[in-house]
């Protein structure tokens, strides 16, 4: 098959195994590579040299928008656009505007967080070369993989597979895009 290669995939049976391998690949200076794990492996991020996720910042932005929206909405509707005398209460007060603003803060944060997470992860991506791997099913079950992409500058079929093998990777295969 002449399909261009996506990269190499190697299988690891245990979390510790993967952990150590990841450290090696990281030290080898690879950029475009990834680990496939059935569960969030504690500490693997550090092992892979990943930076802290930027999702929180998106969430914060969402939260602030929510709160401001809430306050503005209450002020605009009840105090600016159509002020009505209601039970001798002032037209606007942060007191009674707060509950609604508070809820909107949370609502907007939630949306921001999830949309942020999806966007940053480039999901939804229903088709992906990795998903074509024969044993990927076990990746959602009990096995671990390391994938090194062909587009990585340092990628070189021979060396890379050697690196993986030496890191303990079994069943090293080439993935087609």
């Amino acid at each position: 098959m002449a399909a261009p290669s996506y990269g190499l995939i190697a299988t690891f049976d245990t979390a510790p195994g993967l952990y150590r391998a990841a450290q090696q690949v990281r030290d080898a200076g690879y950029r475009n590579w990834d680990c496939i794990t059935p569960l969030p492996v504690h500490g693997l991020d550090k092992a892979m040299g990943l930076k802290r996720s930027i999702v929180p910042r998106i969430s914060l932005a969402g939260g602030i928008t929510g709160f401001v929206t809430g306050m503005t909405m209450v002020w605009w509707t009840d105090a600016f656009d159509y002020p009505l005398l209601v039970g001798g209460k002032p037209m606007f007060s942060p007191m009674f505007a707060f509950p609604v603003s508070y809820e909107l803060t949370i609502l907007f944060t939630a949306f921001a967080t999830i949309i942020g997470m999806f966007v940053v992860n480039g999901l939804p991506m229903h088709y992906h070369p990795v998903l074509k791997h024969d044993h990927i099913r076990r990746g959602m079950d009990d096995t671990f993989f390391i994938v090194i992409e062909a587009r990585d500058p340092r990628f070189n079929l021979a060396n890379t597979s050697a690196l993986l093998a030496q890191a303990g990777g079994k069943d090293i295969k080439e993935l087609e895009t």
Binding site: H42, D45, L50, S59, E103, I106, M117, D142
Partner: protein, 474 residues
């Protein structure tokens, strides 16, 4: 990070060595990853058991009561319920608060415990969240349909219209609209995010099993999750944040629900203690419901290894704690009523305990204050059947708590001339009864088609998930 702490820890700690403190076993018998996967996916993949069909049939039938009741209500008028001056709110709002309260435990388990790193939550949080969502659905039915002109219910939302008139944001009811809808939405999102990796698992398993159709369905919602660790890191962060905001959310929702009463001036409603009291009550009833649902599930699916005695203990203890808080609140109400030296206030509470609705009051006290006290005893906590029975008492008691607060306060308020006595109509009773059907229907669908436990998270709390070989410290 456990790492860092120990590096910095004073010498004395080394001797105390908290590490050797026995850690509770969250997944018993040292099960393997694939065992967990098999166990949970098995439930979905296996053929539908007969009992499921039976229960489902019953549930749908019961649910039809609500549908019928509501239809009749809309066609005829709120008069088909038992409401009347002076009791203009009764079962409708009682049921609303009841269901919302139920829902709270779900969020609490998944969110607060998640923040508190209470790993024992993992086995129950998925179904707890499901419970939240379904409870909110049941709850939402009542405020929507208790209004006189439901076809104008959209007046509640700030939609620009040719009458240029807006909502009254001074009204707790308007706060409710935002609180409950936010709560529902966020719960669903939180739940879905949690489901993502498990859906991927199912997708691939079905594909392997050659079931293209279901593989496609699950795949569709799995959004192409592929267990990439780069994803996991954002995912974990997002999940933590959602947990983070759900915690204040769940507290705010019942606080706002309690404002419906606290903001009014009715003796028995106009009480500053309500927010904490309601939240405690919500957690109390919530855990009651979790127990009521989980224990049978545990038995039916033989999940003893996943829902261990430790989990049950924890839940019983929380029930005990919150139940006692609620009891304290009841006592406090009386004290304040007396201390306020307000004859109207004073009468309301005396009337609660000894007036025409005394029976409801004492049911409440028995179920909410006395029942949980049994959980002091380990032997009780270990007797699952007994725990299950007690948990049902808790549910009953909490329903009556809302009944007592709402109805007895209204029935005898300021002017004796307008005192009255409320009793429900058959329509009301059936409508409420039906909501249990609605809830069960949804819950049955859930346990049939979705992983009732978060596999990925469960695996994460097993020893073999630890990259440093089975111990936190090294």
């Amino acid at each position: 990070m456990a790492h860092a702490e120990h590096a910095a820890a004073p010498a004395i700690l080394q001797e105390v060595n908290p590490a050797v403190l026995p850690r509770a076993v969250l997944v018993a018998n040292n099960r393997s990853f694939s065992w967990i996967t098999e166990k949970i996916c098995g439930i979905i993949e296996g053929k539908t058991p007969a009992w499921w069909w039976i229960f489902f049939g019953v549930a749908v039938f019961v649910a039809s009561f609500t549908v019928a009741g509501i239809t009749y209500l809309i066609a005829t008028g709120v008069g088909v319920w038992g409401h009347a001056n002076p009791v203009n709110w009764a079962w409708d709002i009682v049921n609303f608060v009841f269901w919302i309260g139920i829902g709270h435990a779900g969020t609490l388990i998944s969110a607060i415990l998640c923040l508190l790193r209470q790993k024992w939550r993992t086995s129950i949080n998925r179904s707890a969240e499901a419970m939240t969502i379904f409870a909110v659905v049941c709850a939402a039915i009542f405020p929507v349909f208790h209004v006189g002109r439901v076809w104008y219910a959209w007046y509640l939302f700030p939609i620009p219209n040719s009458n240029v008139i807006w909502q009254n944001f001074r009204s707790p009811l308007e706060w409710d609209v935002f609180a409950v809808s936010t709560y529902g939405t966020v719960s669903v999102l939180f739940w879905y995010v949690g489901l993502l990796p498990d859906l991927a698992t199912l997708r691939d398993r079905f594909y392997a099993a050659g079931d293209k159709f279901r593989s496609f369905l699950y795949g569709l919602f799995a959004m192409g999750w592929r267990g990439s660790n780069r994803h996991w890191s954002n995912y974990e962060m997002a999940y933590m944040i959602l947990a983070g905001i759900s915690t204040p959310l769940v507290l705010s929702v019942h606080t706002i629900v309690s404002f419906d009463f606290a903001v009014s001036l009715l003796p028995g409603w106009h009480t500053t203690i309500f927010p904490p009291y309601f939240v405690a009550g919500a957690i109390f009833s919530g855990f009651g419901m979790v127990l009521t649902l989980m224990l049978p599930l545990r038995a039916v699916y033989h999940l003893e290894d996943l829902i261990t005695q430790y989990h049950i203990d924890c839940m019983c203890k929380i029930t005990l704690a919150t139940g006692t808080i609620v009891g304290y609140a009841y006592a406090m109400e009386f004290f304040i009523a007396w201390y306020s030296a307000n004859p109207y206030e004073g009468f309301t509470f005396i009337n609660r305990a000894f007036g025409p609705y005394a029976w409801a009051y004492w049911i409440m006290i028995t179920c909410n204050v006395l029942t949980p006290q049994f959980f002091w005893s380990r032997r009780v906590r270990q007797n699952t059947t007994l725990v299950w029975v007690l948990s049902i008492f808790v549910n009953v008691g909490m329903w009556f708590e809302r009944f007592v607060i709402i109805v007895t306060s209204l029935a005898r308020d300021f002017l004796p001339s307008s005192w009255g006595y409320y009793s429900p109509s058959i329509v009301e009773i059936f409508t409420f009864f039906g909501t249990f059907g609605v809830f069960s229907t949804l819950f049955l669908l859930f346990i049939r088609f979705l992983p009732i436990m978060p596999m990925a998270e469960l695996k994460a709390v097993t020893p073999q998930a630890d990259v440093h070989g089975g111990s936190d410290h090294h």
